[in-house]
Every structure is written in C-alpha cells, then in structure tokens.
C-alpha cells in the first residue's frame, strides 16, 4: 500500500456558479449525520473530487448578542454556557473575566484557581468530544463509546459542583457562584482521573496507529501556515500547521504562568496533526489540573464586594443592606464603568474573545463574542476543495465546529 495518498490536482474553483463539465452538484445538506452543529455544504464534485464548495451556516443562530443587550451582565452568563456547549465552564469564565478586567477588580485567589480547574476540565471534555465524533463518523463506533464515557465522568463532576452538566453558569462577575465540593480533589485524583486516562489510552490504542485511520486523516484537509494565519485560525488547527501560538503561554492570564505545561505543534496542518495535538493537549490539561489542585489555596470564591457580587443568602435575608444590594444587583445589574474592552482566552478551539462595550449601566451596550470555530469554518471550503468527498467528513470533524459558538 503506498505511503502517500496522492491528492488530485488542486483546482480551486472560486466561482461555484459556473459548473465545470461532467461535474454534479451534491448537497451535503443540513440534515446529515456528519454535519453535526448543522452546516449545509453545497459541493460541486467530479466523481469523487471536490471542485467547488459553498458553506451555508446560520441554522443555529439564536440572537445571543442581541439578547445580551437586554439583560444584566450577570444574566448573560447563561448565554455563554450555550456558546461552546461542550466546554461551558470556560466560556463563563472568559466572559466574566472580560468584565472584571474592564472594571479593574481583583478576584480572590481561590476563585481564579477554581476557574482554571473547571476550564481545563472543559477543555478535556471538548477535545474528547471532537476526537471521538470524527472517529465515529469514520465508522469507529467503539472509540466513541469509550470517550463519551470519559466525558460523562467529567460531566458528573460538573453536575456535583453546580447541578448541571452542560448549562453550568458557574462564573459571575466577581468570582464563581459554586465552589468545588468537599471531596472533589479526592474523587478526581483517585477515581476519575485514572479512569479518564485509561479510557483515553484504550481509545488511542484503537485508532492512533491504525492504518485505516491514518490513511483517512493524514494529508486530508491540509492548509498551509500562511493561509491559516490569513484566516485568523487559532487553536489546535493553527498549531497543526506549525505555529505555537497559545494564549496561555504568550500572554498568560489568570495563573497560567505558574503552571508547567507544554504546547504541542504539528507540521503538515492536516487532520492527523490536529488529532495528535488534541490528544497531547488532553494530557497537558490533566497535568495542569493536577498542579492546580496542588496549588489551590483556601478561601472564598466569591468577591466580598456587594456592589459587584450578589451578597450571600445569609446577608440577603439577614441585613437590610444585603437585601438592598441584592435587589439592586438583580434589578439593575453590576454597574460596569463606561468604555470598552477586548479580552481573549485560549478556548479548546482557539482564541475565544469577548469585546464588551459598556455605557455605565448594569446592562451591556454591546457584547461581541469572537468565536474561534468561525475562522475554522470559514477555511473549510478551502480545505476541502481539491480533496475527495469522503475527506469532507474527517476535515469537518477536525475543525471542531460547534454550532452554538459558530452562530451564537
């Protein structure tokens, strides 16, 4: 069997309107088992070769940014859950951190460490989902069940912390609404993490060195580094192309500069490199959670400033000032000073940025989410043209397009 799967001549057809001879139009439509998150791909193919493609998105647009302008700052945390719904804790934390940076408030240390722990758990869940969804779409169903079981363990822990698996809403402006429960560290270290590691290992044995999987993923969906940068891609897909851009290392936020971890980067910019990078990042994230649990200080996760953070229940029901603060907090919201701020974190897909504009009141004036998978999906057509129809599926799986984030 030849080592390289030779790609046919790359004919990038920009204009999908004029159809080349002997080509036919195939719509990998919105209802398709592999288009999870819903994207419609109008493909023009000659036999198996894709010569033109047009991606249509917008099937999950819910008007998040518009709705954010009508609710208070804290109420919008609920919308951020539903952005990248596989790693919700990270979105919550990023949004709240953007507001806190703008206001200039410092959180209690424990809040930041807890944010980092749940964010890294979200990252592991996201990478598990991405890798296993693309393996399942290739026909490796067993791998799917192993990794989904690993993801379930993470979601069980989220549920024990805050009561919800996916719609966690853990962060507020000024800290975390839910602290880690008693016995979290013990359960993670003794029970959950060894199981997750074992399941990752089992799944990896199934496909990493599997010849079929390698052939399907290697040299498919390739995008050279300069095109990746031109598309503004960040995250595992950019690192697969050879860059080592990672916001946790280049511009450390929270306490990432106190942690010891590595950032993997690839060579070819294809799906297989992205897969390997995601597997390695999971390993690094598990290391990071370990270090965070070692360094976790005692204290409160909620800021003690009643103007920013909703007072605790004993204050609300005990003192009149607590009640007033609670009332004003719920009815009017946190008074964020006028101005604007762009704040970015390293989400599993890349750079998740929040651009917030405030007019001084408790209701945001504009909240813009810079979705990382938007840039990846914009590059999808270029990645698929020149390949085969059967290559669309692993490519689409490896850009990790999450519908909630793409279309807010």
């Amino acid at each position: 069997m030849s080592e390289e799967t030779t790609k046919s001549q790359t004919t990038v057809v920009e204009d999908v309107g004029t159809v080349p001879a002997e080509a036919f139009e195939l719509q990998l439509g919105p209802s398709h088992p592999a288009m999870h998150g819903i994207v419609k791909l109008d493909t023009i193919a000659e036999g198996e070769l894709v010569v033109g493609m047009n991606a249509t998105i917008g099937y999950l647009h819910r008007g998040m940014e518009k709705m954010c302008e009508h609710r208070t700052w804290d109420q919008n945390v609920v919308f951020t859950d539903r952005l990248n719904y596989v790693s919700p804790t990270l979105n919550n934390a990023a949004y709240c951190a953007a507001i806190e940076k703008h206001m200039g408030i410092t959180l209690p240390e424990r809040a930041v460490w807890v944010r980092m722990i749940v964010s890294e758990m979200g990252r592991v869940a996201d990478h598990l989902t991405c890798v296993t969804a693309s393996a399942m779409e290739l026909g490796g169903f067993t791998h799917f069940f192993y990794y989904i079981k690993a993801r379930e363990l993470i979601y069980f822990m989220f549920e024990k912390i805050c009561g919800a698996r996916v719609t966690t809403s853990m962060s507020r402006v000024g800290g975390q609404a839910f602290d880690l429960y008693d016995g979290f560290e013990k359960e993670w270290r003794e029970d959950v993490e060894p199981q997750i590691r074992e399941l990752i290992e089992d799944g990896s044995k199934l496909i990493t060195r599997n010849r079929i999987f390698y052939d399907r993923f290697r040299h498919t969906g390739e995008l050279p580094l300069d095109r990746c940068i031109s598309y503004g891609m960040t995250g595992p897909r950019l690192r697969a192309a050879g860059s080592d851009l990672d916001l946790r290392k280049d511009a450390p936020y929270w306490f990432y500069d106190k942690l010891d971890f590595e950032v993997p980067s690839g060579k070819y910019g294809d799906n297989y490199d992205a897969y390997l990078i995601r597997m390695e990042e999971m390993e690094q994230s598990l290391r990071m959670i370990d270090q965070c649990l070692d360094k976790l200080p005692d204290g409160d996760v909620m800021l003690d400033d009643p103007k920013v953070f909703q007072p605790k229940k004993k204050d609300t029901y005990g003192h009149i000032e607590g009640l007033i603060h609670h009332f004003k907090h719920v009815m009017e919201g946190v008074k964020v000073p006028a101005g604007e701020r762009y704040y970015a974190v390293e989400a599993p897909n890349g750079e998740l940025g929040f651009y917030i504009v405030s007019d001084g009141s408790g209701i945001p004036f504009r909240v813009r989410v810079r979705p990382p998978c938007f840039m990846n999906t914009a590059a999808l057509t270029e990645m698929c043209i020149g390949g085969q129809i059967a290559d669309i599926v692993p490519t689409f799986g490896s850009i990790n397009m999450i519908g909630g984030e793409l279309e807010r």
């Binding site: 198996e48 393996a135 026909g139 079929i212």
Partner: protein
Amino acid sequence: MNELAIQIIATVVKFGVLVLGFALGLAGLLTWQERKQSSYMQDRIGPNRAAIMGIRLWGLPHFLADGIKMIFKEDVIPDNANKFLFHLAPILGLSMVLISLAMVPFGGTFNLFGADVPMIIAPISEGILLIFALSGLSIYGGVLAGYSSDNKLGLLGSMRTSAQMISYEVTLGLTLVGIFMVMGSVRLDEIAAMQGGGAWGVFLQPFGFLLFFAAGIAETKRAPFDLPEGESEIVGYFLEYSGMRFGMFMFGEFVEIVLLGMLLTTMFFGSYHVLPWVDVWTPVHAWLVQTLGNTTLAGLITAAGQFAVFATKVAFFCFIQLAVRWTLPRFRYDQVMRFGWLFLLPLSLLNLIVTAVVMLL
C-alpha cells in the same frame, strides 16, 4: 419408497433445516448479536428490553421485534424513482444470496432409507463457480438500488458498491483457485469430504485464507469496507428504501455474513470435520451402524453431529466478522481500490504461483 420420493423429501428437509432453520435463523440472530456483541465490546448493556411473555432472554426477542416493526413500516417510494428497478433491487440483493446457500455442504453422504442422500441441497458439478456467478448478480442489487432512487447520494453509494465489489471478486476468485489446485476439485462437497483425515485448507493455504477473508469482508460490504453504505458519510445506496425493502437489504447482508462463514469453514476449516488429520466421522458412523444395526438411524445421527460441528464453526466465523466490524474505522474509496488492486490482487497471484510451484515439487 422409491428413490426420487426420498430425495425430494430429503431436499425439503435439508432446505428446512439448513436454509430456514440455520442460515436464516442465524442471520436473524446476528442482527441481535451485532448489537449485543458490540455493546459488550463498548462497555455498555445493549438491547435488553424486548420480552416474550415476560421472559427477557438477554434481549433475544429484539430480532423478532425488529422484523415485525419493519414489516409494518410505511413503504415510501420517491416520485421520480424508476419503479421497476426500485422494486427489483432488493429482490436481487437477497435472492442471490439465498440461492447460494443451497450449494454449501454440511455433512457427508449417507444412505437413508435405501437412497444415497448427500447433505447438501444442490450438489451440482460446478460447485463454487455457481456461487460466484450468483454473487456477481447480487452486485446488481446494490447498484440498481442507488441508481433507481432519485438521489445523488444514493447514486454515489451505488457507484462505490459496484467498483468495490467487482474489484474484490477478482481476489476472491484467485484465492480460491489455489484451493482448487490443492484439493483437486471445484465441488464444495468433495472439498469438504477431502478434508476429513487430511490437512484442512488453512494448513495448505494459510495465506489464501487471509486473503479470502479480507476479500470476503469486502464483498459483504461490512466495515472496514462499508463505504457503500457509509452511514455517516453518504448515507448509502439504500437511502430511499424504507420498511421491509430496507429490511431485505439488511437481511441480505447478514445472510451474506453467514454465507461467508460457511464458505470459510467449508474450504479452509474442514467443514463438518472435528479434527484435522483425524477422520472422526467414518469410525463413528461405522460404530453407530454396528450398534444400531440401522443405516438410516445411524446416518441421521451422524448427519446431526456433523451439522452441529459445522454450525459451531460458522457461528464462530460470524462472531469474528462482527468483532472486526466494530473495531475498525472505514476506508476511503480510493484506499479501498488501492488495497484491492495493488495489494490483494498481486498477493493472491503470488499465492497462486507459490502453490503451483510447491505442488510441482
């Protein structure tokens, strides 16, 4: 009773036992086993809800439930479909495989009621060549299915089906030529008989066995070669079929699994014989004739024993095929073609040459 009547009754009984009872029953059971086996491989429970009068039996009634459900489903035919081909395709897909079942032996020849009754429904002189011809025709089932539904994804599936199956038929045939050379016959019943007291096919043609297994899985369109029905990519050539028509395709696929298992046991694993290089059944049959004094009864008991051995081996091979299906992801189209033409075909030719050389020496 005259001989013709005995042969006719025997054929009907053989048909009932082998085809209806064993093959179709096993194929139906495989639908359940696929789900149950895959679930045990994947660390989950699998179907266990269907019960007959309160008896669950690990979810066995599920395959009955599936069959009944499919019969009652609405039969949707696309408006622009070619009606004749649309109706013809599942018939072709299923019937050819069922006819092939008639050519597989599950026992030796016994003297029952005064007539020599071979334990094979249709002992024709062309033997396995007819099975090949029929599987060639069954390709049409897949091709016509996608072509006649008015759907581009289905058409893609049929194109892939036709290319894949034609490519792997060649390897199948060539590996079998090795067996023919070694066994000296094309007839399956003779091949099965020859493996009693001699080496089994797998010892004579180990490489041929592996090639035949790989090509056979490709012929049955199971993973990793299931890109014609690649469920999550292009849904498959039977995309527009619903209800029992779809059921016929699926059932045909499971019967093909059983057929592949049968062919493997017949040619490579000694069919109904228990041990290689030791002929068990001849002394057993002789002893039974002595003790019981009645060739018919002895013959029936021996035949039942041979059938049991045969059935176990077939079931084992079905189990292996199911395990392979749930472990490996699927190939891409050009990789399948490359694998078939540039890898399996030269290897099967090499196998043939080596066999010929060894036989000359």
